[in-house]
Each structure stands twice: as C-alpha cells, then as structure tokens.
C-alpha cells in the first residue's frame, strides 16, 4: 500500500474486485483530474456502477487502493469514511429518494444530520438547490408524486446539497426521453461549472457522454482500456472503443462476449 498522495482528486490504483470466483474488476487504474467531468463508458454489467461504490467506500476492493484527496478510503475507519462521504455527492440511477420523506426533507436530511445549521439556513439551502435544478415548486411534494425526470432532478439537488467536491452520477439519463435527457445533461454541466465540483459520470448513452465529458474512460473486461479526451475518443483506432461508440454489431465486443 502506498501512502503517497496522488495529484488527482480521486485515484483508483491496481484495483481488483471479485465476488467469489467471479472477477468484476482487475488491475484497474484510473485518475480523476480535479474539476474534470470524467465520463466512464462501458457495457451494461461491466462494473461501472461498482466503480462508483468503490469510490464511496460502500464496496471494499479485494485488493488495490482508492484515494480521495490523497486519503485511502479502502482502509479507513467508519467515522472518517463518513466524513469523506460528506464531500462526495452521489446521484443514483433510480434517484433513491427516501420515499417516506417529502422533497424538502429528502434534501434537508444530510444538513440536519451532519451539520449544525438552523432550520432557516437549511430551508434557504434547500430552496437554493431546488431552484438550481428548476424544481422549486416540488418542495412539499412526496417522491411518489413526481415523474422519473423530476425525481432525477431532485436526486441531483440532493447530490449537491452538501456542496461536494466530487459528484458521482450513475446513469443520469437512463430511461428518460431525449428532451429530459438533454435537460439533465445541461444541468450536469452547469452544476459542475457553478459549484466547481469534479464529476464522474457513468453512462452508455453516447450522445450524453460526448456532450457532458471533458475526459473519457472506457471500462472493458474489468480494466480501463482507454482514457483520453472526447475528441481523441471519437477518432480512436482502438477497435473496442470505436465499436462501442458506433454501436456496430461487428467487432471484438460481441466476439469476446456473445450476447445473442
């Protein structure tokens, strides 16, 4: 284990994760530059969401290290890990809003539990973040009263409520119509610019990926096989990356892992 602090905001080093015999990630290395919007591409079930859970310390790797601002989150006591998690916002694929709490209470929860802010300050912050995602009118609604796109936006507002330094997005536009997807994409870009946070976006929707990303990485067979700018990704000669981007059925991806 190395204790040298990496320059990147987050870094995954020689990461391996296996559930019994099944290896999900192997020798995975990835650096997340500060202020970047890193899009992680990969097939469904390739371990992209798992990657985000490893960064949050929810899953522990079989071997290897995950650093956040130089702190190794894989070997951290629970109390310290909770403090690190307050600096990371997570936006879930299905929003994961607490169904028994109103939108206001969902957003207020981390502020009430983790800070000493007054009710007035909390309400102000909640209103501010709801306005940022264009959902101020949904303040007193319950999650069950909201559509998928609205929930996603509330999930986004909750993800940034603690002004995190790193925001993790798990399939932020999956299952949404093209217009709402575009709204969410724009929101991700404007949020990262407004609050100056670094973002990791896991997706397999290429249009969103190229629109949002300032950096890109491709996860394939448990490893990061390419890490570059979106322009270089578009013009790559890597057969796997280029097949994934084009959605071509002919190529190494289906030859290696036949789906049909």
């Amino acid at each position: 284990m190395s204790n040298v602090a990496p320059i990147a905001l987050a870094e995954l080093r020689d990461l391996r994760l296996a559930f019994g015999e099944k290896e999900i990630l192997s020798d995975l290395n990835l650096q997340v530059p500060s202020k970047a919007r890193l899009v992680v591409l990969g097939q469904s079930g390739s371990g992209k969401s798992t990657l985000l859970r490893l960064i949050l310390g929810i899953l522990k790797p079989t071997s290897g290290d995950v650093f956040f601002k130089g702190h190794n989150v894989t070997r951290m006591p629970r109390r310290r890990l909770n403090r690190i998690r307050q600096k990371i916002g997570m936006v879930y694929q299905y929003s994961a809003l607490i169904s028994s709490l109103s939108v206001r209470d969902n957003l207020a929860l981390p502020l009430e539990e983790l800070t000493r802010k007054t009710r007035k300050e909390i309400d102000q912050l909640v209103d501010e973040k709801l306005t940022l995602v264009g959902m101020a009118e949904a303040r007193d609604k319950m999650p069950s009263e909201l559509s998928g796109g609205m929930r996603k936006r509330i999930g986004l507002a909750r993800g940034i409520i603690m002004d995190p330094e790193l925001i993790l997005y798990d399939e932020p536009t999956a299952g949404l119509d093209p217009v709402i997807s575009s709204v969410i994409d724009d929101l991700i870009i404007s949020l990262s610019e407004k609050i100056g946070a670094t973002s990791i976006i896991v997706t397999h929707e290429m249009e969103s990926a190229f629109k949002i990303g300032t950096h890109m990485a491709m996860l394939y067979k448990g490893k990061i096989i390419a890490e570059d700018t979106p322009e270089h990704f578009k013009n790559t000669d890597d057969p796997v990356v280029s097949q994934f981007i084009s959605g071509n059925t002919q190529g190494p991806i289906l030859e290696d892992t036949p789906l049909l």
Partner: protein, 230 residues
C-alpha cells in the same frame, strides 16, 4: 457530530405512535377474547369441583406473568416486526439505505435506532393493556357464566397476583421488544433479491421473531422459577 442522541427523535416518536398506539386495538381485542375464553373454559372445569372462585387468580397470574408478554410479543412480531422488515427491505432494494449510507449518515441512527427503541419501550405498555383487557374479558364472562360480581373478580385477582409475577412479566416484555426490534431490522437491512427477497425476509423475520420470543420465554421461565420460586 458530537453530543447527539443515538437515534433521530422525530422518527422515534413516529415509530412509537405506530408501534404503540397503532397496536392497541389488536392487542386489546385479542387479549380480551383470550382472557374471556380462558376464564370460561377453566371455570367450567373448576365448577365441577365447586372451585370456580379460582378463576380470577388463574387469569390474573397467567396473564401478568406469562400470557400477556407472550401473546403481545407474538402479535407485535407479526404486526410491527413484519412492517419493519418489509419497510427496511424495500428501502434496501430501492437503494434508499445505500443512499443514506453514501451521504455519510449511516443507517443506525436514522433507521434502526428509532425502531428498536420504540418497540423496546412500547412493548411493556402494550403488555399492561393486554393484562387489563384479558382480565376484563375474564371478569365479564365470570359475571355471566358463574355469577361472580366484578368487584369480587378484581379483588380475588389482585390478591393472587404477586409482585414477582409483575416483575417477571415486565422483564420479559422488555426482552421480547428488544428481540422483535433487532430481528426485524436485521432481516430488513440484509434483504437481497428484489421483491421476492423482501417477501422472503418478511416471512423469515416474523417466524424468527416469534420462535425466538417463545424460546426466550421458556428460558426466562426456567431462570425466573430458579431465582424466585425456591
């Protein structure tokens, strides 16, 4: 943050309302019928020996010491234990528990603490209601079937109930509350496998909680007899 309660107070009060106040009708009704049936059946048998005056003592002691905590434990395990497991299990499946964990809050203070404490503190209160309604049922049927005045029933029952019976019943109620709370929350938070997983965990939670409650009841009886009745 330091200097805070290990559970969220607003959720604790919501859970006490649901666990305690919400369970009163069920516990009262079932206990009333069991008390009534018990008095009726034992009364008929004892009547053949002319000993029906033993009915109040029998119902009183049986409920304060044994049936009150046991029946309430079983009812609460079925009603509240199942609800806790299904609720927490659904939250696990819909990633709500993970989201709470990911925020750095941790599910103990927010989810487990208020629930376990609510059922732990409220079960003894429900047992008191169970004892009182069971004796009311017994008194009512004794008045009708054996011509026993209410005052006589109450006085005889109180004469027969010993402090040690009440202590034994109270210790059991706290213990059963703790068992139900811990089992149901554990089963809920360890759910895997979607909707079917939640269903399976809920069944397992009720079965485990009831079996454990009966098991600990037996154990308590052995220990309490060894301690008090020598």
């Amino acid at each position: 943050m330091r200097g805070r309660l290990p559970f969220r107070l607003s959720i604790f009060f919501a859970q006490t309302d649901r666990t305690g106040v919400g369970s009163v009708p069920l516990v009262a009704l079932v206990s009333f019928f069991i008390g009534l049936t018990m008095a009726l059946l034992t009364g008929y048998q004892l009547q053949t020996f002319g000993q029906e005056q033993l009915v109040p003592g029998l119902v009183g002691v049986a409920f304060t010491r044994e049936l009150g905590p046991l029946m309430t434990g079983i009812m609460v395990a079925a009603r509240i234990g199942a609800a806790y497991t299904a609720e927490l299990g659904t939250m696990v499946v819909s990633e709500e528990v993970e989201a709470i964990d990911a925020m750095g809050i941790g599910p103990l203070r927010f989810l487990v603490g208020p629930r376990v404490l609510a059922v732990f503190l409220l079960l003894p209160c429900l047992v008191v209601i169970s004892d009182v309604t069971a004796m009311s049922g017994g008194a009512l049927i004794s008045r009708w079937a054996f011509d026993m005045p209410f005052r006589h029933f109450v006085n005889t029952a109180l004469e027969n109930i010993l402090i040690r019976d009440i202590i034994a019943g109270t210790i059991k109620s706290f213990l059963f509350g703790l068992i139900i709370g811990l089992v149901s929350c554990y089963k809920g938070l360890t759910v895997s496998g979607g909707a079917a997983g939640v269903g399976g965990a809920t069944t397992s939670s009720v079965v485990t909680a009831i079996t454990t409650v009966i098991g600990f009841d037996t154990l308590c009886n052995i220990v309490l007899v060894a301690v008090f009745d020598k």
